[in-house]
Every structure is written in structure tokens, then in C-alpha cells.
């Protein structure tokens, strides 16, 4: 579930409020987003992907809040990881993060071939 919106990074673009499928965030009196309904979070990570400032952290638990320490999250290297692997925004030209989703079928075929080889 979503755990943090880091004010020090947030630019107040409020994209997360708009794109959250389950309407978890709201625009606060200071015009920046806050977590208004954490229990509605479906742990889909879309807010992280759409946050160009890497200011959002979603925890891995989908069925319970799991408060985190902001300093350790800032230091963890986890912020922005999803957006980078998707090759969005400033990562678009980086060949390390080009979209190789199309390889999925080949991976399934490799697994099938391995299973055939190791079958008794």
C-alpha cells in the first residue's frame, strides 16, 4: 500500500491524484497531494510510475499498512526504480531500460523446453 508522499521532492503537479485508479490521494490545502484513503490502495504502483519527481513510496504489503522510516526509504534506492525500469521520461533514451516486454513469450518457451529436458 502507498506509505509516503515525500514533500521535499513533490512538485505539487498532482498527477498522482489524477491517475490513481482507486482515488487514494487528495489535493491538500497547500495544493500538494496527501494520502487521504490509504485503505483504498490496491498496491498497483501506478502512482510511483507517474511521479516524475520519484516522491512516492508504495510498500509491498497489499493487505495492511506498513509504516516506513522516510530517511531509510530516501537512502534505499527504491524510489523511482519502477519508472527507471519502464524507461520513462529522462530514462527514455537509455538503452539499458528499453522495453523488452515482447521477450515474455520466449521466456515461457524456454521454461517449457527446460521442463521437457528435465522430465523423467
Amino acid at each position: 500500500m502507498i506509505e509516503l508522499v515525500l514533500e521535499e521532492r513533490c512538485s505539487g503537479c498532482n498527477a498522482c491524484v489524477e491517475i490513481c485508479p482507486t482515488n487514494v490521494l487528495e489535493i491538500g490545502s497547500d495544493s500538494s497531494p496527501f494520502i487521504a484513503r490509504q485503505n483504498e490502495c490496491q498496491t498497483c504502483f501506478m502512482c510511483e510510475l507517474y511521479c516524475v519527481e520519484d516522491a512516492i513510496y508504495v510498500g509491498p504489503y497489499c493487505d495492511r499498512p506498513d509504516p516506513v522510516d522516510r530517511e531509510s526509504i530516501l537512502a534505499s534506492g527504491l524510489l523511482g526504480e519502477l519508472r527507471r525500469y519502464h524507461g520513462w521520461d529522462e530514462w527514455a533514451a537509455d538503452p539499458r531500460y528499453s522495453n523488452e516486454h515482447w521477450q515474455m513469450e520466449k521466456v515461457f518457451l524456454r521454461a517449457r523446453d527446460m521442463a521437457i529436458c528435465t522430465a523423467p
Binding site: P21, C44, Y61, E100, E105, A111
Partner: protein, 529 residues
């Protein structure tokens, strides 16, 4: 719903599309391309909502040449689908999917393989839905985000003439008067925590049933997908290399191939199950983050190395998502039996193409792409003959207009009770007649209470309607599973282990006050005029 007219955004259009996921966006674009005016409403945000946005659908993808390729594909699928699917529908889906995906090149950056050949078959979810949002915006479709539909409007002649809902971010209500309506509200996993599925609560099924529509294939709703325990991450690719262990660390034997669901469910009924992915080849490990970028997120955040460490797993129910059932379509343009109402994607039955087994991995997305376009075009054609006119009556019942005095109904408890009947492995994967009978009785009791007394206010009306939708969808699933007094495909009854020729027919279901089932008298839909 509120009676404050001044709070209502009232709009008129040729075609209203309800649901802006994979099928809804293809529907809106196809309708708009015929020249019709189109409004698309989504409960969440069109572009991130729905189960495509968090996944990465590989489509059913077979080249037209040589012709035997498709013929063989169809013949094989008829066999694995246990004869409930239809070769003509399969052929149409293969053909339209093949033509459609390359048309997205303006908005989706398709990859080339190492030989420079463009790869169209599988698209990454967030990029795919972002592209489809750009497409509908570029075509001039009016999109209302965060605007869930709550109920349909219906004329006295029975034809559907629009819908109403709420604007959950802007406040107030909306009403759209339309010449025709496409329901593309997705399937429902009964809020099982399946990835990306929490806006898919079966609302379209409930709304359509209130207008008199019927359903098909609702017994084929027993598909489950593995995920790390406490996570939503039902991305299955990497589990092709999984090794599973019981609580004592003993390897659980798995048949080779993708059918691990039943052995896993059996093991989970005995105790906790653990997994590692140590058999994954090194080169694939390196590629996983750029193939499925979300797969590693929970592991990294828990500090688990899934290639080395064992982690606990669970199975999330998919209900009608990678199950099969949904609204019955009765024409090539995906019309339902209600005039002016069309169905697309997981809101519609996929039995016509998938048969009695899951359409995940290929057919579901191809069906969403093609049924969306047929429904969009069909709705536009219908709207040309039946201009949008006000005067439709809102027809929502359960949760909106209770049968008797309004009373507090505990929504959390009602949902938990529904989930207890349709999600447990021992009730839904390993079915039996007497357990289904019991589930039916429990669900009828909840329905009677719910239908008679539940009514939401602006804050609670959406969750109230969603709960009503999942509740009545569960009733249809259970009734269909009872009516199919045999085992076939994903529907497996411990008490009826054989497949019986008597049931070489689709099973139809419907009804709100009283649930009915019957076998489909006409396996083939009539040609649309």
C-alpha cells in the same frame, strides 16, 4: 442518488462507453471513427485503471498466411475449449486483432527483435493503456475520469438510453443520455487482491441485469494465479521456473507445463506453501526488470532474493477476469439481448472464443481488442437509428432504491461473506453439488437483506453498489456451477468427475429477484442486421 439537479452534469451523446480499460478504449475509438459522438466514463482513470494497465497482455496472434496456421490454431482451441467455443468467432477475433495492433504505432513504441522484426503481439500494460488514452483523446472522445456509473437509463420500450453516476473527485452526479451504451466494465475478482482489479467489481453485470440482460459461462470462474503472500503481484512469467515447497521444506511435485493451479491449491489446503525461483537461467534474471518491471518490486522492498530465498505464496482468485463468464452477446456486433446495450471485453462472456478454459495469456486481450471495436461500431450504428433522447428512467435497484425500509447494512461483512463463498479453494476450485447448494443458500440470504434494505449516501453509494454487484455475480456463478452437473474445463466437480455429452451446451443465467438458469438454445448468434 441525489435529486439535486443543479449538482448534475447532464450530457447527450451518440455512444456512451462505460469503462475505460482495454475494451472500453478500443470501443470508444471504433465508435468515434464512424463519426459518432462518444463519451467514455471510468470509475478510476482511463489509462491506469483496469487489469491491463498493471499487466502486459500477450494477444492471440496468428498470421493470416499460410491459412493452415489459423485453421490449426482454431481446431486445437476447439478441442481444449471443450466444444463450447465457436470457430467463426475465433476466426473473426484472430483477424481483427492482427489488423488492429499495428495501428497503435503512433502512440506505442513497438520493439524490434534482434532481426529487426517489429513485435506486436505483447504490449506492456502501462504503456499500452497510456497509448490507448492518447488515442481516444486524439480522436475527440470526451473522457470523464473518476466518474463511476451507478445505473442505466431505460426507455419504456426496454431500450437502454444512457446512464448516471457520480463524480467522485469533482463532486455531484452525472447523467449521460445516449443513443446506445457499451458496457466495458471488466470482469470481477471479488476484490481478491488480484493485481489491478480493484475497480472491477462487476458493476456492469448488475446494471445490465437490471435492464434484463442475461449471462453465459458464469460457471467457468475458478481460475487462480500465484502471488507472493500479502502481495498483489500476480505476474506469472517468472513462476514458469518456480520450485514449490511444503512447510517441511519438501518439494511439491508439479506436472510439467503451466497447469500448476490445482496441485498448488491442494497443497495450500494442507498448509503453507513456499517457493523459490532458483531454476531461472541467469540471462533471464537479468532481463526480468525490463520485461516485467513490476515483478521484482515486492521482493526488493521486502529484501528477499527470490532466486535464492524461499518466500510464501498464495493464489488469488480471478473470478470472471481470467475466468470466462460474462454478459451473453447475441449478435456479431456484441449486442446483448437488451436493445441499445452492447458488451465488450471481460464484461462479456469469452466462452465464444475461449471455451471452457481460461482465456488468459492470449484470448482475453484479443477478445477485448476485437469485441471492443465491434461493440463500439455496433453501438454507433444503433445510435444512428435511435437518436439520443432524454426521458430514460434510472433503473438501479439494490443499494440505490431498496425494496423496503432503508436500514444499515454492514458492507464489509457482506463482502466478506460473499468472498467466503466464491474464493476458498475447497469451494471454488474443488467444487461439489452439496457445497454449491449451501453457498447458494447463504448468498440468497445476504441478497434478500441487501436488496431490501441497503442504500448508500454520496460517500457510500459506490461501495454499496459494488457490493451488490459482487453479491449477485456470486449468485449467478454458483447457480451456473450447479446447473452444469458435470466436470468440464476449469469447472471441476468432485461429485461429477465426468464430462457429459448432455452438457455440450452453454449455460445461461440471469435474474435478480430470482436467479434462473437454462441451456443456450442457440449456440450460434444470429447475424447482425
Amino acid at each position: 442518488m441525489s435529486n439535486h439537479r443543479q449538482d448534475t452534469l447532464e450530457l447527450t451523446t451518440d455512444v456512451l462507453v462505460i469503462g475505460g480499460g482495454l475494451a472500453g478504449t478500443w470501443a470508444a475509438s471504433a465508435a468515434r471513427r464512424t463519426g459518432a459522438s462518444v463519451i467514455l466514463v471510468d470509475k478510476g482513470y482511463c489509462g491506469t485503471s483496469g487489469v491491463t494497465a498493471t499487466a502486459g497482455p500477450g494477444h492471440w496472434w496468428v498470421p493470416p498466411d499460410p491459412a493452415q496456421l489459423r485453421e490449426n490454431t482454431i481446431r486445437n482451441r476447439l478441442k481444449t475449449g471443450f466444444g463450447l467455443n465457436d470457430p467463426e468467432w475465433m476466426n473473426r477475433v484472430l483477424a481483427l486483432t492482427w489488423e488492429s495492433l499495428p495501428t497503435l504505432a503512433e502512440f506505442y513504441n513497438f520493439s524490434n527483435d534482434e532481426n529487426g522484426v517489429t513485435q506486436y503481439r505483447a504490449l506492456r500494460g502501462p504503456e499500452y493503456m497510456r497509448a490507448l488514452r492518447k488515442l481516444v483523446d486524439s480522436l475527440g472522445v470526451t473522457v470523464l475520469d473518476h466518474s463511476p456509473a451507478l445505473e442505466l437509463l431505460q426507455h419504456s420500450d426496454g431500450s437502454v438510453s444512457g446512464a448516471c453516476g457520480i463524480r467522485r473527485q469533482k463532486g455531484g452526479d452525472w447523467q449521460v443520455n445516449a443513443g446506445a451504451v457499451v458496457l466495458a466494465t471488466g470482469g470481477t475478482s471479488f476484490l481478491s487482491r488480484l493485481l489491478g482489479s480493484h475497480t472491477n467489481t462487476g458493476d456492469g453485470y448488475l446494471m445490465a441485469a437490471e435492464a434484463g440482460a442475461e449471462f453465459s459461462g458464469m460457471e467457468f470462474t475458478s481460475y487462480y494465479t500465484v502471488a507472493p503472500n500479502h502481495s498483489t503481484m500476480t505476474r506469472s512469467m517468472s513462476y514458469a521456473f518456480a520450485t514449490y515447497y511444503d512447510e517441511d521444506g519438501v518439494v511439491i511435485p508439479m506436472p510439467p507445463g503451466p497447469d500448476t493451479m490445482r496441485p498448488l491449491a491442494r497443497a495450500l489446503l494442507k498448509g503453507r506453501v513456499f517457493c523459490d525461483l532458483h531454476r531461472t537461467p541467469e540471462d533471464i534474471r537479468a532481463k526480468v526488470p525490463v520485461i516485467s518491471p513490476n515483478f521484482m518490486l515486492p521482493f526488493r522492498r521486502w529484501g528477499i532474493d527470490p532466486y535464492k530465498d524461499r518466500f510464501e505464496i498464495t493464489l488469488h482468485g480471478e473470478g470472471t477476469i481470467r475466468g470466462i463468464g460474462g454478459l451473453r452477446v447475441v449478435g456479431w456486433d456484441c449486442r446483448t439481448s437488451v436493445p441499445g446495450l452492447f458488451a465488450a471485453g471481460d464484461a462479456a462472456t469469452r466462452e465464444l472464443v475461449a471455451g471452457a478454459i481460461s482465456g488468459g495469456g492470449n484470448i482475453n486481450s484479443a477478445w477485448a481488442v476485437s469485441s471492443g471495436q465491434w461493440a463500439g461500431q455496433g453501438a454507433a450504428r444503433y445510435a444512428r437509428k435511435h437518436e439520443a433522447a432524454g426521458g430514460g428512467r434510472p433503473i438501479g435497484q439494490a443499494g440505490l432504491r431498496p425494496g423496503s425500509a432503508t436500514r444499515h447494512v454492514d458492507l464489509t461483512a457482506a463482502l466478506a461473506a460473499v468472498q467466503r463463498e466464491v474464493l476458498p479453494y475447497d469451494k471454488n476450485i474443488f467444487r461439489s453439488g452439496d457445497r454449491l447448494e449451501q453457498s447458494g443458500t447463504v448468498l440468497e440470504d445476504i441478497w434478500t437483506e441487501f436488496h431490501s434494505h441497503a442504500a448508500g449516501n454520496f460517500q457510500t453509494v459506490l461501495r454499496t453498489r459494488e457490493t451488490a454487484a459482487m453479491l449477485t455475480t456470486a449468485r449467478w456463478c454458483v447457480a451456473s456451477a450447479l446447473a452444469r452437473d458435470e466436470s468440464r474445463g476449469m469447472h471441476q466437480r468432485d461429485d461429477r468427475p465426468q464430462t457429459s455429452a448432455r452438457f455440450n451446451r452453454r449455460i445461461l443465467v440471469g435474474g435478480l429477484q430470482k436467479v434462473w438458469t437454462r441451456t443456450d438454445p442457440a449456440p450460434k448468434p444470429e447475424l447482425a442486421s
